[in-house]
Amino acid sequence: MDHTDDPQAKAFYAPQGKGGLAAWIFSTDHKRIGLLYLGLILTMFATATVLGLIIKLKLMTPGSTLLTAQQYNAMFTLHGVIMIFLVVIPSVPASFGNIFLPLHIGANDVSFPRLNNFSWWLYVIGAVLAVVSIFTGNGAPDTGWTFYVPFSERTTTNVSVAVIAVFILGFSSILTGLNFITTVHRLRAPGMTWRKLPLFVWSLYATGWIQVLATPILGITALLIFAERVLLLGLFDPGKGGDPLLYQHLFWIYSHPAVYIMILPAMGVISEIIPVFSRKPIFGYNMIAFSSLAIAFAGSLVWAHHMFTSGMSDTAVLVFSFLTFVVAIPSAIKVFNWLSTMYQGSISLDPPLLFSLGFIFMFSIGGLTGLVLGSAGTDIHVHDTYFVVAHFHYVIFGGTGLGMFAAMHYWAPKVFGRMYDHGRAAWSFWLILIGMNVLYFPMFIMGMQGLPRRYYDYLPQYAPMQMVSTWGSWFLAAGLILMFYNLYQGCRFGPQATKNPWGGATLEWTLPSPLPHEAFHHDPEAPEPYDYKGVNPDG
């Protein structure tokens, strides 16, 4: 042990005893695992955003420029697969969830630390396999992230390896969820009743259930594709009486709930940040907690809204359209409750709040256009067009992405013990916000005008919009680079951060910054997580 007064030296990430790589990659410490995840997720994010940038560069003008059709098809497939399975699904839970879920409930680790490390390894293996699938066999998969049959059975590209990667990543996600559920049930500190759980924990708990109950369906779907390709089972082969629509059902039974795996933890982050920076108790705690569970449950009832044009029965269209609208209501509750939390608060517009407000704005656009998609008549027109592409970039990037960025700005001082530059953070925020809207809003218009997605070339009438949209991607890139630079610079060289720079009332703010190796030596007193009387931002 080291006896300097430098808090950095006592931090959980500082080398201690056996240092080096092994102390990290075999670590069972939830904080280290969280950081490991964060590092890899951001790497994957950087990779896939660059793919997105190339896609936009290709689409800047019509005609065959820059990429061949085959390259383009592989490009959006990889962009989608990496973003979905390697970035947004693990994003908040695997990184910040791992670090702060135990701390929020007053525990020193998750229930199964070794399993936690194992699930990180599964993530690594999945990521490696995904990369392997690009460079081996007959080239990178070109199916889109949805792997629809029969195309995915017939294409000669390396789909088999990719679906195995997806299978493994699914299990990584399951193990994280399983760990969180058990941790919340078993490791709450004395007095930490369910009604005192921070809403972040509630959202992770709800997410955990989706991970455990929905992801296995993805597992079997991926295995089936593998079996169809390698063992020639023919379960979806129309020639043998198979029904390609059943594949779509199986796929979306997982993949719709998966979008709530993506958004719920981010919503949890927002529910933490808004009250802290408004210094006012969260408005309607019960409703927000309940709506997380409601989204988790109701979210598993609506999958076939991705299939309105697929040729499924009209009755199914009726039922799933109806259920889709039901699922929108808990999200609406959250948005209104966040706003009411700000009402009559005492608001300090620090970077985390800025990103959170950006989240609300972008998520509202994405969510409200989700209603256009949920309505049967209108979805027919915009299904499989850029309207859908715009919708999900708004909810995923504008929602989960900004939520993740908000979390990074909120917790960076706690994790690294240093503070980044607030002015630069604000600049990067505005660049990102403007960039995103210039990039994605034209996609709504092009979608309404009928431009189908996954088109490597398009009719000239769409050229002006595409051009604008491509410009947007550059703004966005600039903003992202500025943000990551600022965070990196701050966490390495910024001024020492205090214990509680924002004045949060949850347990992690009672701990030193940066976080020490062992968080709690005694069971902590369970606080009222949103009672700011007597808790003040220090400094």
């Binding site: 195309f151 408005f283 005492s346 608001i347 209603l371 979805d379 027919i380 499989d384 700011y532």
Partner: protein, 422 residues
């Protein structure tokens, strides 16, 4: 005479407007509230925050009100969906077959075409399927979209209320040339439609004729000698005509390659006597290669029906050119250029000749000896196969086939149509 028909497009657009309207109000409200709160309740202006933790009434309100709103949206959406689904009784039925990466439309009398020709004002019911993977029939102008699923028949219907050409996209990702799987719905008058149907569409395999059709020429010109909006194209070649020039002078003219090119591509020197100056200029809509083919048809008619040109038409109609180029580039399959008599891809090293092609067409993966995405082609008539082989042969040498300057122009159906929608 005017039956009260639901206007599907209107119904769908109403739902759009309803949802967009409500959303815009909500979004503006939310954004304005956020900005106002940040300003009004900033720590400077409001150092002491309120401390309440909720308000039941408020929460009930924002559960109930959105619920009502979304139920309205749901109902409206379902209503317009019904309109999209319920084809009127007695709608004309057309079979649609999608394949990688072209469309085939079959009319009630058995005629096939690559663009969908329909009479204006009549409801058309489509029965769609696919030979290989999923595709999607998407006609934005009619808000109509429905997937085509192999082994299953799906339905959709629309009615064109005015003449014109409307683009059709393939909406479901289907591999390499998904983005090129574009065709058109051509809405024409009932008379034109009847004429179109009556033409023995399958009789002629000449691609020039297909082009006349695709470019819309046949909407105004007949091929059977009867005058329509424009003069009949039957036996135009060599015919004498009188042109009325801009300054009302009459000018004699004999139709040959040069004069026809002038008329089709411009600049025009006048109007054929007895007709209105209605024909559009095609300079930027028809390529030189296409013109060559069209002129070839006008010159020689169907007499070339078993030549390489006919073979090209077969290849086009069967969708071969979606995967095999004629210019040496590889799309999904090996290029046709120089394929004939060369060693094929089959593992046994067989040479591409008639029997080989025949067997590949029957069972591509089986014959070639490894899994291939090429679909099997069934029911190809003997004459068509002969034509196809002549076509392949014509591409056999590196030099372009005599008489036609093809310059390796990629004449896939998709390209041909793509051109029209500029």
């Amino acid at each position: 005479m005017e039956p009260k028909l639901v206007n599907v497009v209107q119904a769908v657009d109403n739902t759009f407007m309803l949802i967009f309207g409500i959303s815009a109000v909500l979004l503006l409200g939310i954004t304005a509230a956020m900005i106002w709160f940040v300003f009004r309740y900033s720590r400077k202006r409001n150092p002491i925050p309120a401390t309440y933790t909720g308000n039941l009434l408020a929460e009930v309100i924002w559960i109930v009100v959105p619920s009502i709103l979304v139920m309205g949206m749901f109902y409206s959406g379902w209503h317009s969906y019904r309109a999209l689904r319920d084809a009127p009784e007695g709608a004309m039925e057309i079979k649609v077959m999608a394949r990688m990466w072209s469309w085939d439309f079959e009319y009630e009398n058995g005629k096939h075409s690559g663009t969908l020709v329909v009479p204006v004002g009549k409801p058309v019911k489509l029965a769609l399927s696919s030979t290989d993977v999923l595709h999607g029939f998407f006609a934005p102008a009619f808000r109509l979209k429905i997937d085509t699923v192999p082994g299953m028949t799906t339905y959709g219907w629309f009615r064109a209320d005015k003449p014109g050409e409307f683009v059709v996209f393939c909406s479901v990702y289907c591999g390499l040339s998904h983005a090129k799987m574009i065709t058109a719905i051509r809405a024409v008058s009932q008379e034109d439609f009847d004429r179109f149907l009556a033409e023995k569409g399958t009789g002629s395999k000449h691609p020039g004729k297909a082009l006349l059709d695709a470019k819309g020429c046949l909407g105004c010109h007949s091929l059977d000698g009867s005058a329509a909006i424009g003069p009949s194209l039957k036996d135009v070649w060599g015919r004498e005509a009188v042109l009325v020039t801009a300054d009302k002078k009459e000018k004699k003219l004999k139709y040959d390659a040069a004069s026809l090119k002038m008329i089709i591509m411009g600049p025009r020197q006048g109007v054929v006597k007895g007709f209105e100056p209605m024909m559009p200029a095609y300079a930027d809509q028809i390529t030189a290669d296409e013109l060559t083919l069209m002129l070839d048809f006008l010159e020689r008619g169907d007499s070339a029906a078993d030549g390489p040109e006919a073979g090209r038409a077969v290849a086009e109609a069967q969708g071969c050119l979606g995967c095999h180029s004629t210019d040496g580039s590889d799309i999904a399959g090996p290029t046709f250029k120089g394929m004939f008599r060369k060693k094929g891809s089959a593992t046994d090293g067989a040479v591409v000749d008639r029997t080989y092609v025949e067997s590949v067409l029957k069972d591509p993966s089986g014959r070639i000896g490894k899994p291939s995405i090429m679909p099997a082609t069934t029911g190809l008539a003997d004459a068509d196969l002969s034509a196809l082989l002549k076509f392949l042969e014509s591409l056999g040498t590196a030099t372009t086939p005599k008489g036609h300057d093809m310059k390796g122009h990629d004449m896939t159906p998709a390209n041909a149509h793509g051109e029209q929608h500029k």
